[in-house]
């Protein structure tokens, strides 16, 4: 098997040597904020490039898609516990304003190299407002560790109401983006505020198990962005008001599947057994680490072998902590979504009651209408299946300061593979 891989790699080297590879690359970031001379107030905000063009509010984001590695929480000096993954990587930071490069053309040219082996899990969080039109560009980079795979990738904006197939990202009904190419998705977000999720839909069972999953939430028009005037939905009675919000993505990995993928083995779909239950791509205690996790050594080595340096910050594979902090009296909004591919999970906040105020990006009231009968429930735990989202508010008024926990009440999931007491758990710290 290794011999075959060497032959394939040699074949690709020949292609590259004859200059075929560069001809495939069509990185193209369509962003009116950078393309339209009429764009005003162009800024980097919320992980996007944002601007106004006349009365239009625009947000743009550019992500790459490829393979890479992630660190599991049971790593030791002797056993680094690096898992082979597929994932997205945020390359918006390369672009002006205040980017690594002064011009869009220079940044475009750097995307393929920056994105190589740069997969992140969970994927870069998408955070936009329903007052905006959102231009999301996906650039697919080669799969370095699997040069035999000619898989394309997509972005599926999961739950987008009244979607057009061309921007739905389901490749059987439209298309996937080939390696070396770019596609820009357009989403008019008006009237679509709420908590969603996104993932790659190309060969979805494989690409999702491999890690192409992320948080996606759209702030509602009523949300001013400044506490105390922050709202999960455009309610009429301020019942979805919150002070601080945290996206929490339920993810789970089966290391045997990831190893089989890396070593070009038949993929064990029916035998998937997720033994790394994670929040935002990390197992406890990594979940409470406020920093980006270190870059996996294999990523550094494999990038170096191809002539690319690796940045210890921007090339972290796991950038999103899930430690939840608030001051007593504040209302916490947890934007909970699940992209697990095998199991349903029950998530509890221990001693803290949670109120369900939204489900699947809709206010949790009768007929999904702001004026409908409240279906809000105060719960100790919520059961969430793959592809669902919940907006949960924890009111900390009268709650004693201290450390609480958000965790899976399927207690066998509080593990990092064989290591006990880890997994799908994080802290809620009330100061």
């Amino acid at each position: 098997m290794k011999k075959e891989r060497i032959i394939i790699q040699a074949f690709l080297l020949v292609l590259i040597a004859f200059g075929i590879h560069p001809a495939w690359a069509h990185v193209s970031f369509q962003c009116p904020c950078l393309d339209d001379p009429a764009a005003q107030n162009v800024v980097k905000a919320n992980g996007n490039i944002e601007c106004n063009i006349g009365a239009r509010n625009i947000a743009c984001k550019h992500i790459s898609a490829g393979d890479g590695f992630a660190l599991m929480a049971d790593r030791t000096a002797a056993e680094p516990s690096e898992l082979y993954i597929f994932g997205f990587h945020d390359v918006t930071y390369l672009y002006p304003p205040n980017g690594v490069y002064a011009t869009k053309a220079e940044a475009d040219a750097a995307v393929q190299g920056d994105g190589l082996l740069a997969a992140e899990t969970s994927a870069p969080t998408i955070n936009a407002s329903e007052t905006q039109e959102f231009y999301l560009t996906l650039s697919t980079v080669p799969m370095v560790m699997r040069p035999d795979l000619f898989d394309s990738h997509t972005v599926h904006f999961h739950g987008f109401p009244n979607a057009a197939t061309v921007f739905d990202g389901e490749p059987m009904v439209t298309f996937g983006v080939n390696q070396g190419a770019s596609l820009t998705y357009y989403y008019n977000l008006a009237g679509r505020g709420g908590t969603y999720l996104y993932h790659c839909h190309f060969e979805a069972t494989e690409h999702m198990q491999m890690g192409m999953l992320g948080n996606l939430f759209i702030r509602v028009a009523k949300d001013t962005g400044v506490a105390p005037n922050r709202f999960a939905y455009n309610d009429t009675d301020n019942s979805t008001r919150f002070d601080v919000d945290f996206p929490v993505s339920v993810i789970s990995f089966d290391p045997r599947f990831h190893d089989a993928d890396q070593s070009i083995q038949p993929l064990p779909f029916a035998d998937m057994l997720d033994t790394y239950p994670l929040f935002n791509g990390r197992g406890y205690p990594d979940t409470i680490n406020p920093n980006f996790l270190p870059v996996p050594q294999q990523k550094i080595d494999e990038r170096a072998a191809r002539g690319f340096t690796t940045d210890p910050v921007t090339h972290s594979s796991q950038k999103l902590p899930s430690k939840i902090t608030a001051t007593a009296g504040q209302k916490i909004l947890i934007r909970l979504s699940s992209v697990a591919t095998v199991d349903l999970y029950t998530i509890s906040a221990g001693g803290l009651p949670m109120q369900i105020v939204g489900k699947d990006a809709v206010i949790f009231r009768g007929r999904g209408a702001a004026g409908g009968l409240p279906l809000y429930q105060t719960v100790n735990s919520v059961n969430i299946g793959g592809g669902e989202s919940y907006d949960l508010i924890i009111d900390t008024a009268g709650i004693a300061a201290g450390t609480y926990f958000l965790y899976s009440t399927n207690l066998n999931e509080l593990t990092n593979e064989f290591q006990e007491f880890g997994g799908m758990m994080t802290e809620i710290v009330i100061q």
């Binding site: 069509h26 193209s28 369509q30 039109e133 231009y135 999961h158 739950g159 109401p161 009244n162 979607a163 057009a164 197939t165 061309v166 739905d168 389901e170 059987m172 009904v173 298309f175 996937g176 983006v177 080939n178 070396g180 190419a181 770019s182 357009y186 008019n188 008006a190 679509r192 060969e203 979805a204 069972t205 494989e206 999702m208 198990q209 038949p266 993929l267 064990p268 779909f269 029916a270 035998d271 998937m272 591919t341 095998v342 199991d343 349903l344 489900k359 699947d360 990006a361 809709v362 949790f364 009768g366 007929r367 999904g368 009968l373 279906l375 059961n383 299946g385 793959g386 592809g387 669902e388």
Partner: protein, 460 residues
């Protein structure tokens, strides 16, 4: 992934789409089934086909004198009716019938029934005994029926089906309702009966090795909608190559129409059912209208609804493309030459939209809105440029144009399964593991909703 295998399996999918247009019945469609209130069922055995080409031994219900089928016949009755189901048995084991959520009485009308545990049973006597199961259909909604005899084995083997109770005053199409209330009105109706399968059980039963059956290490490898796996879910209802699997799961509607999904879970695991395209509106659960008295005032919208084992969910879905930010029909665009290759496309010509047949493109201003169309988006041009064909891997259900009802050029061998220029939206279990057929992707518990341009007649 093995894309060769993927292509092969999807090729079959297309054949079915073509076959679909052979049995035209215009207008709204209902879930096919047998209408009551008196039913005569029997049991039978046979091999069903899975999407990867496997065939699996089954025990099934069927209409007396007809063909056994997986799932069993959908039994359709009216609210208030006294329903009788006469059951005989040709299997080597006793069988019976229970309905989740309804108290059913059982009496032998000929021969001698076995006492059973959950209900009286029909012995393995090759049809000699008839047991009559009787109940009153007091509540409209969706119900699951299945064998009450050794159900872990017999339901796995295929002895299950759905009962639909129509509300009092159920009107002719298109004035359908699920619960008699205007908030449960719909035009089309589709069943999603969800099942799973461990093929080792079926092999053991076929060989008579009952002692080899072990449910403690149950390992399901197939996941079905209406007794079929993707891509067979898309094949025409009654397709002759699916002799024992008469029910399809392809969903068709025109924009602005409504479809009622009746989702039923008869498998071991919960299934989070995700609807691409739009939210669905959950109006009923377990045959109860979600109402506190003023219509569907306890309903909610969802893009994924978990259907638990034994659960039934009634949900209504529509699609208009409202608020998409561009004209989804492409009233002002060059719809047959979409902006591929990062070009802005050409100028629209008479082949695009020429309603008055004068050989000149009707300017957007001269065109009237579709009744379902969002006026705010009318005439707004496509917002960006698409990459060239060499940059994309096209799926079989793409018509070559981003606009509804339009077709565009595709590379040779690409597309082809979408002769209407419709919008295909996947409807599937979001336990992504279940999108496989015995370790082959794609497959399993998935089907498509096709939103078809209004000019195209829906045939079912």
């Amino acid at each position: 992934m093995n894309t060769l295998m993927k292509r092969k399996s999807l090729l079959i999918g297309v054949v079915l789409l073509l076959v679909l247009s052979v049995s035209p019945v215009a207008g709204a469609y209902d879930i096919p089934g047998v209408t009551g209130p008196a039913f005569s069922l029997t049991t039978g055995k046979g091999h069903i086909t899975t999407g990867d080409g496997n065939s699996v031994y089954m025990w099934m219900y069927g209409v007396q004198g007809g063909t056994a089928q997986y799932p069993g016949p959908t039994l359709i009755v009216n609210q208030g009716a006294t329903v009788t189901i006469n059951l005989t048995n040709t299997l080597p084991v006793p069988v019976s019938l229970v309905v989740d959520g309804i108290a059913v009485t059982a009496t032998a009308v000929s021969g001698t029934a076995l006492p059973g545990v959950l209900t009286k049973e029909v012995p393995a006597d090759n049809g000699a005994t008839t047991v009559q199961y009787q109940f009153t259909a007091s509540q409209p909604g969706t119900y699951l029926y299945h064998s009450g005899t050794n159900p872990p084995l017999q339901v796995e083997m295929g002895l299950l089906g759905v009962i639909i109770v129509r509300p009092s005053g159920f009107g002719p199409a298109p004035n359908r309702t699920a619960y008699g209330d205007a908030d449960s009105a719909y035009i089309h109706e589709k069943l999603f009966l969800l099942t799973d399968m461990d093929i080792r059980v079926h092999d053991a039963v076929q060989k008579g090795n009952y002692t080899n059956i072990d449910f403690t290490d149950y390992r399901d490898v197939y996941w079905f909608i209406n007794g079929r796996t993707l891509p067979d879910t898309l094949s025409a209802a009654g397709a002759p190559w699916l002799k024992y699997q008469p029910y399809d799961a392809l969903v068709l509607m025109n924009p602005g129409q409504t479809i009622l999904y009746r989702m039923v879970n008869a498998s071991r695991d919960p299934h989070p059912m995700h609807t691409h395209g739009n939210h669905h509106h959950v109006i009923g659960r377990q045959a109860r209208f979600l109402s506190a008295g003023a219509g569907a005032d306890l309903s909610n919208n969802a893009f994924t609804t978990v259907v638990y084992p034994g659960d039934t969910v009634d949900a209504i879905m529509t699609w208009t493309g409202a608020g998409i930010g561009w004209d989804i029909v492409g009233h002002g665009d060059d719809v047959d030459n979409p902006p591929l290759g990062f070009s802005t496309g050409g100028a629209p010509g008479p082949e695009d939209i020429d309603n008055n047949n004068n050989g000149v493109f009707d300017t957007c201003a001269a065109q009237t809105l579709e009744p379902w169309e969002d006026p705010a988006d009318h005439c707004k041009l496509f917002p960006l440029k698409l990459p060239g064909a060499q940059d994309l891997t096209f799926g079989q259900f793409y018509g070559g144009s981003p606009f509804l009802g339009a077709l565009g050029a595709l590379p040779p061998g690409k597309g082809g399964f979408n002769p209407w220029g419709g919008f295909f939206f996947m409807q599937h279990s979001h336990n992504e593991k279940e999108l496989t057929n015995n370790n082959i992707f794609p497959g399993g518990m998935a089907t498509f909703l096709v939103v078809i341009a209004p000019s195209t007649l829906i045939v079912e």
